[in-house]
């Protein structure tokens, strides 16, 4: 188990009760190793978001088990899940989701401050990361003063701040132009080449093609796609 970062055992999620019960994810068994680069594809309503939310510890499964770095997270409470999210998981959202009142540097340090990292260490780490995504000239810019591509790169810096085991990117290039999209993808690939596990949810077959492993979701069933 030592290099398996994600293991699911009959992972299921059901919404509602009785007759309006909808099973969004059906008994899923997968395992993802440290350093993998995975794309998850599937049409809208396929259960993709449900799967993402479970992997990201934003939601708890109805039945089954989910292990992250060997920890069974399926039985944790809200605050314990929050702790897993900030230590183990880095989120990248389609709509960047930066805090509008904070500048690039502050946005990148925020999750470290929740993680009780000292102020000097936070700033040093955030500057390193912003430098890596090519934004050292934008430290004091607020989200509204940056382009979509730049905002997404700040979001990448934020996601990496606490050295997560997994980076979960939900349509990371969905809201930016092709050139910025390519830049974001090459940053993510660069991070992956340094050993970071990357999971990308996407509609775009071109992006999926760049991944080393593709998972396809249809009607709540996750299947492996062989390249």
């Amino acid at each position: 188990m030592s290099n398996e970062v994600i293991v699911t055992k009959d992972l299921s999620k059901t919404y509602g009760h009785g007759r309006v019960k909808v099973t969004a994810l059906k008994k899923t068994n997968i395992s993802i190793n440290q350093g993998e680069y995975i794309a998850i594809m599937g049409p809208s309503g396929s259960g993709k978001s449900t799967f993402m939310n479970l992997l990201g510890c934003l939601d708890s499964p109805t039945t089954g088990k989910l292990y992250i770095d060997g920890i069974d997270v399926s039985t944790l409470n809200d605050n314990q899940l929050a702790r897993i999210r900030r230590k183990k998981i880095g989120f990248i959202f389609q709509k960047y989701n930066l805090i509008p009142t904070l500048n690039a540097l502050e946005n990148s340090t925020l999750s470290m401050s929740f993680n009780k990292v000292g102020s000097d260490d936070r700033v040093r780490r955030a500057k390193e990361l912003l430098d890596m995504v090519g934004l050292s000239h934008r430290l004091n810019h607020k989200p509204s003063e940056m382009s979509g591509g730049e905002q997404q790169r700040v979001a990448i810096a934020r996601a990496l701040a606490n050295n997560p085991s997994i980076v979960l990117a939900d349509e990371p290039t969905g809201n930016v132009d092709t050139k910025s999209g390519n830049k974001i993808m090459s940053i993510l690939e660069e991070i992956n080449s340094q050993g970071e596990t990357i999971i990308i949810v996407t509609h775009d077959p071109n992006i999926a093609k760049r991944a080393k492993r593709v998972l396809r979701i249809q009607d709540g069933v996750v299947s492996e796609e062989n390249a």
Binding site: N53, G56, L58, D59, D78, N79, A82, R83, R85, R86, K87, F91, F93, N97, L98, I99, P100, T101, L102, E106, L110, S111, S113, F114, N115, K116, S119, R158, A159, N162
Partner: protein, 411 residues
């Protein structure tokens, strides 16, 4: 962490500046009211204490029966019309242990005529010895007190000399009291603060002149000074018993220690202050609802932001802290502004109140200086802190309870 939260709160307040200022104003007004009204209340108490504390060794003895209590003394002057002290009473008083001195005074009403204008006054007749015990030449702004052998002379209060007549009376002026020609020998300095001890409206005559003018020689009251102020209550009781025995009437005399009068007045002022502060507290409750309302709106507007923070690892307590600190920041800043406004406001209110006093009955005008105590400032700061915490608690709890999934999806 705290520094980050304060920074975050500051940015959010700045982002919604006009709304924050309005919320802050609510707190400021509430705190201002509390500070100002406490200052005024404290000022009133000090004015009264300052006036009366020199009288801690004094007992006012008056004949007049059961209804002659402290309030009658203040409102109607000395003694009701149903009895007088006798020479024997005064002699008995002098024999009571612990009494330093007894001074009697005659009291009656009269009309002063000056330049064909008339005014009603209360006349006081006293022996020269008694006058010299009660007053000093330093109490006068001009002239001197009466002396042994003076005839048809009087000493008058500041208001009578300078306010009651179109032409001011000065030392040497000839006035008429009940048609008797009298020369003014001295004029008291302005005293201001009213009550039983004010000299502003006094007219002092020798006992002999008093009898000649009014045709009365009745002792309505005696002023007793005791050696040891701590015995004043006990001695007052003994005086009452002694005089009541002399007259065979349980309710004949009343002996009131001025210190107990002071206590009574302070109690009344204390209650008055509490009422004022309770009114101010209503303003604070309204302000607190204002904060809660603003914070709830802010939580709604920032649903997405809260979701993001939770998604990247904020625990419920982190989210709560962000909103509570924001509420506290608004209320603390509002509180500090309120304290400043309150300090100035109380000065304004005091001069307004003093001005009103001057327009009222003479002798009732006192100069009121508001007293802002450290206690009231500490109270105001802690109240605003508590208001900030309490009113942001519910919005903060609502924010903390949000599901990160729904919050992130929120548009």
């Amino acid at each position: 962490m705290l520094k980050d939260n304060v920074n975050l709160a500051y940015k959010n307040i700045k982002e919604r500046l006009s709304r924050s200022i309005l919320t802050l104003l609510g707190i400021s007004i509430g705190i201002m009211a509390i500070i100002a009204l406490m200052g005024i209340g404290e000022g009133m108490q000090e004015a009264v204490s300052g006036e009366l504390s020199s009288l801690s060794d004094t007992i006012i003895v008056s004949a007049g029966g059961s209804n002659s209590d402290e309030f009658d003394l203040l409102t109607t002057g000395l003694g009701a019309d149903n009895g007088y002290l006798t020479e024997r009473d005064i002699a008995d008083l002098n024999r009571i242990q612990g009494i330093k001195e007894v001074s009697t005074q005659l009291t009656g009403s009269g009309i002063i005529t000056f330049n064909s204008e008339n005014t009603y006054v209360t006349l006081t007749g006293m022996d020269i010895d008694n006058q010299n015990l009660a007053y000093d030449n330093e109490d006068l702004s001009s002239g001197t007190l009466l002396e042994e052998g003076d005839q048809n002379k009087c000493v008058i209060g500041y208001s009578i000399a300078h306010e009651n007549f179109d032409t001011e009376i000065s030392v040497g002026s000839r006035i008429k009291i009940n048609d008797e020609k009298i020369v003014v020998k001295g004029i008291f300095s302005k005293q201001g603060m009213g009550g039983i001890t004010s000299t502003d409206n006094i007219v002092i005559l020798t006992a002999r002149d008093f009898e000649k003018i009014t045709g009365q020689s009745n002792i309505k009251a005696a002023i007793v000074r005791v050696t040891n102020p701590s015995e004043v209550e006990a001695i007052a009781e003994e005086i009452e018993q002694t005089i009541n025995e002399n007259h065979g009437d349980d309710d004949f005399a009343s002996a009131t220690a001025m210190s107990s009068l002071l206590e009574t007045i302070q109690n009344i002022l204390g209650i008055l202050s509490m009422v004022l502060i309770a009114i101010a507290a209503i303003a604070l409750v309204v302000a607190s609802i204002g904060i809660m309302n603003t914070m709830l709106t802010s939580v709604m507007e920032r649903t997405r932001e809260i979701g993001i923070m939770k998604a990247i690892g904020a625990e419920n307590k982190d989210v709560m802290l962000i909103f509570i600190i924001e509420g506290m920041l608004v209320s603390i800043v509002g509180g500090i502004i309120g304290i400043c406004l309150g300090v100035f406001g109380s000065q304004g209110m005091a001069s307004l109140l003093s001005g009103m006093g001057a327009g009222g009955p003479p002798g009732a005008n006192m100069t009121l200086t508001p007293v802002i105590t450290l206690y009231s400032i500490v109270l105001a700061v802690s109240v605003s802190l508590i208001v900030g915490i309490v009113s942001s608690l519910y919005p903060a709890w609502k924010a903390a309870k949000m599901s990160p999934i729904e919050a992130v999806r929120y548009e």
